[in-house]
Symmetry: C2
Subunit: 293 residues, 2 copies
């Protein structure tokens, strides 16, 4: 299949590579950087504009940092919308605003094309291993058509619902991950300051109702003081910003998400925005004048 792929960053490049390895032809338009060497060698075509990418592709995938980036690539001058072939499918795999996504989908569909929101979870490691979780918002019939492409890039691929539902699930995921990190951080800082060994406490809690992937992976990072990313605080801050903006426009309160966002801000203020998100523990350590021992 001829596939457009815009956004060949640390996530997008290996994902496009998996498609290429399965025999698909990749068309792309890069912004500042050249086409990554491995992709170029395997025959990826660099186009002059997003519109030209669209004109060459049956399916166009975007994997971009934030909502305005996706909007610009879709609807800006020389954007995808100007070149899409009738019946083409746009798949946005970025993590962006669910409500803007519903708007983007409506505009793309008005062109006689289809739209799929399909954000992923699993990071660079998952992108390379083709093991990312993919949360999909799409018409069921369109989902069936693009599912073989998702199978090349990830595992655990779920159709959540109509357009926007994939992004909603991703936001829900980022809320839980941030708040579970905060939970583990409060518990371990408490235990350590009270005089117990935080690693023994962590181990003891792993079998029971407190058990979680976060206690397992990020709890260990906190205890071992390994704050190299992983997933950077400044990126998770962006995701919680999305959650809070959506919540405000929907008219609902997310008190702990708001507070976790502030704790991330405290880390950024301390110059720790590039740390792994498990580094949120340091904000709580500062509130305790105590470091996990």
């Amino acid at each position: 299949m001829d596939i457009g792929f815009i956004g060949l960053g640390i996530m997008g490049a290996p994902m496009a590579g998996h498609l290429q390895a399965a025999g698909h032809r990749i068309f792309t338009k890069t912004n500042r950087n050249p086409v990554p060497e491995a992709l170029a060698k395997a025959g990826a075509t660099a186009c002059a504009s997003a519109a030209e990418v669209a004109a060459n592709s049956d399916v166009v995938i975007t994997m971009l940092p934030d909502t305005p980036d996706v909007e610009a690539v879709l609807f800006g001058p020389q954007g995808l919308a100007e070149g899409l072939k009738p019946g083409a499918i746009v798949i946005d795999m970025s993590s962006i605003d669910p409500i803007a996504t519903q708007r983007f989908a409506a505009r793309i569909k008005a062109l006689g094309c289809d739209y799929v929101d399909a954000p992923v979870s699993g990071g660079e490691v998952g992108a390379k291993a083709a093991s990312v979780t993919i949360m999909v918002g799409a018409d069921a019939e369109v989902f069936d058509r693009v599912k073989p492409l998702f199978d090349l890039m990830g595992q655990n691929i779920t159709l959540i619902g109509e357009n926007g539902a994939g992004q909603i699930a991703k936001v829900a995921n980022q809320i839980i991950v941030a708040l579970n990190i905060e939970a583990v951080a409060e518990a371990l800082v408490f235990a350590s300051k009270a005089g117990a060994d935080p690693e023994r406490v962590r181990q003891a809690l792993m079998g029971g109702f407190a058990s979680s992937r976060i206690l397992e992976v990020h709890g260990e990072r906190m205890v071992k003081r390994r704050f190299d990313p992983g997933f950077r605080i400044e990126l998770h801050q962006k995701d919680l910003g999305l959650a809070l903006a959506s919540a405000r426009s929907l008219g609902l309160a997310l008190p702990h998400t708001a507070s976790a966002q502030q704790l991330f801000s405290g880390c950024v203020a301390a110059g720790e925005g590039g740390n792994d998100h498990s580094g949120m523990v340091r904000a709580l350590e500062r509130l305790a004048a105590h470091e996990l021992g």
Copy 2:
């Protein structure tokens, strides 16, 4: 062995039953209620006072609601301390204040006896199935001596550290459980109000970094509206109260624990204190003027 057991409630009664079934003799003193029938039939002896229980026992176990209850049974008039044999071991399996526990342990040790704090997690179901998790604070040598008794009552038995460390671990457990419940509740209320099916979102998130026992068990309760306990909000409120009181005396901040406590209070205000703790979702639903559909 001759074992005193004070606190034959919904947790204590089955736990004492397991000891009895293994051939140990049980001595008890009940407050208002008679000795549970099954235990009495199997030969449990009712004593006139806690002191008399202590005078008959090599090991005395307490399983009581709160810190003042344990203090009264240990050190009140006709309390355990008045009757303990030299070298006897007091095992407090209640969930109480870690700092008070350190004080109680010092007073019991001053009598030439030993003290073990060994709170459990796993509820009535775990008590009946002898599968509770036991978090232990004790001298290592004393832990080895009482471990065979723990093996009769639970699984996943961990020596965390010196006296108080068992209670510290239990508090840490209750912090994580409450905050993970809050996290799942925020995420599912958000997803539902944004228009996605919360059950599909829950399923999609189960494989990734958001996965937890709480997402699995309590997330399902939220979606299915099953708020019969389980573990009651008013009990979890007591546990968070312990966490916050300890945090204050230790001089550290637990912002989300404090906020979760307030959300539980909102449930109590609505007459829902007897609901399962997963019912915290209703406090967030009220903040969203929206119920999970």
